[in-house]
């Protein structure tokens, strides 16, 4: 039976690419001495900065460190959905 199972055995999904992605992420965190607390503080400051420039943050702010291998540096990718405050105020005053 074991012999027959051997023929029918399905190949499992390769895992090296997963390891590679996980490694990129942990190395980015490690090299930049980044932790979740620091990212959270950074997020708060970015929201304040948007406010200073007249933007309202209208969704989830995401900051994702990525490893750039050619020079061993970390790139912080920030995704900040915003809307120009003036527009929304116009909309509010217009009763939209």
């Amino acid at each position: 039976m074991a012999f027959l199972n051997m023929f029918g055995k399905e190949k499992e999904r390769p895992t090296a690419a997963t390891a590679d992605n996980r490694l990129s992420l942990v190395l980015s965190y490690q090299r930049s001495d980044i932790d979740e607390r620091k990212l959270k503080q950074f997020q708060v400051r970015l929201i304040d900065l948007c406010d200073d420039f007249g933007y309202d943050v209208v969704g989830q702010v995401e900051i994702r460190p990525q490893s750039r291998q050619q020079d061993n540096t970390t790139v912080l990718n920030a995704s900040i959905p915003v809307r120009l405050r003036g527009n929304s105020e116009d909309e509010e005053s217009a009763g939209v």
Partner: protein, 266 residues
């Protein structure tokens, strides 16, 4: 003044990746090339190099005895009988790493430089005091890494520490590589490991059952003609010696292995 002697610290961060195997094998390979080589075990309390070289029954004095003045350096060195160009400076087995300082190890290595062309320093695992002792006298470092996430992450941390200690020449040895697993996409390739760590690749050593045999017998795998890992370590020694040696072809070509791969049982 031209420096005649080179001190190379072999380190990793993570334990069990093959540091001592590398030191014993590369040390012997260099000795076979006619160089005067001292392999120094700095893993105080957990020594291994004596076992790797089959010299465990010949130790009288150790590294701490020299530092404390209980013995002279010459008395603590254990010469290999078959390869007299190779000597071992063993670590103490019943003492603690904290009992020596980086300055003392540096002074000891400076004394060894008078007699040896290559001093290979076997670093303990970790990044604490023992690691700092091991890197203090180094002119260059060899980082031994296995192609798996914990080992690569620790190595990356170690590279940062070596660079902050002004060690600029850091070479990479990727050990325990399984070409079949890489081909199946289940092991990080040597190229990916090197890309992540971004340091010079000195050698690639395949996983090899014969390494267990070599540690059983105390004969470094570099002496084993049948061992592919032995050949890889020999090539690393020759590269350190300054020769240009191509990297080994490691692809599994035996019929049995090919059949196993067809049925996904390799």
């Amino acid at each position: 003044m031209e420096q005649k002697s080179v001190a190379i610290t072999v380190t990793s961060g993570k334990g069990g990746v093959g540091k001592s195997t590398t030191v014993a094998s590369v040390g012997l390979a260099l000795a076979q090339l006619g160089r005067q080589v001292c392999v120094m075990d700095t893993d105080i309390g957990l020594r291994k190099l004596d076992l790797m070289l089959g010299l465990e029954n010949r130790i009288v004095y150790d590294l701490i005895d020299v530092i404390e003045g209980t013995s002279k350096l010459r008395q603590s060195l254990v010469r290999h009988k078959e390869y007299p160009h190779l000597a071992l400076l063993p670590a103490a087995q019943t003492r603690y790493k904290e009992e020596v300082t980086p300055a003392q190890i540096k002074q000891l290595v400076d004394e060894l430089r008078n007699e040896f062309e290559f001093i290979l320093i076997d670093s303990p695992a970790g990044i604490e005091g023992g690691f700092r002792n091991a890197i203090a006298p180094a002119d260059r470092a060899i980082l031994v890494v296995n192609p798996e996430i914990p080992s690569v992450r620790d190595s990356d941390r170690v590279i940062g520490l070596l660079e902050s200690a002004d060690l600029d020449q850091i070479d990479l040895v990727v050990n325990r590589v399984q070409p079949g697993m890489i081909k199946d996409g289940d092991m990080l390739s040597v190229e990916r490991v090197q890309n992540h760590l971004a340091i010079n690749l000195l050698g690639v050593v395949p996983e090899d059952r014969r390494i267990i045999r070599s540690s059983n017998t105390g004969e470094p795998v570099v002496l084993d003609d049948k061992s592919l890992a032995g050949r890889a370590f020999n090539h690393i020694g020759r590269r350190i010696h300054g020769e240009e040696v191509p990297f080994l072809e490691m692809e599994e070509t035996s019929l049995i292995n090919r059949i196993k791969r067809i049925f996904h049982i390799a």
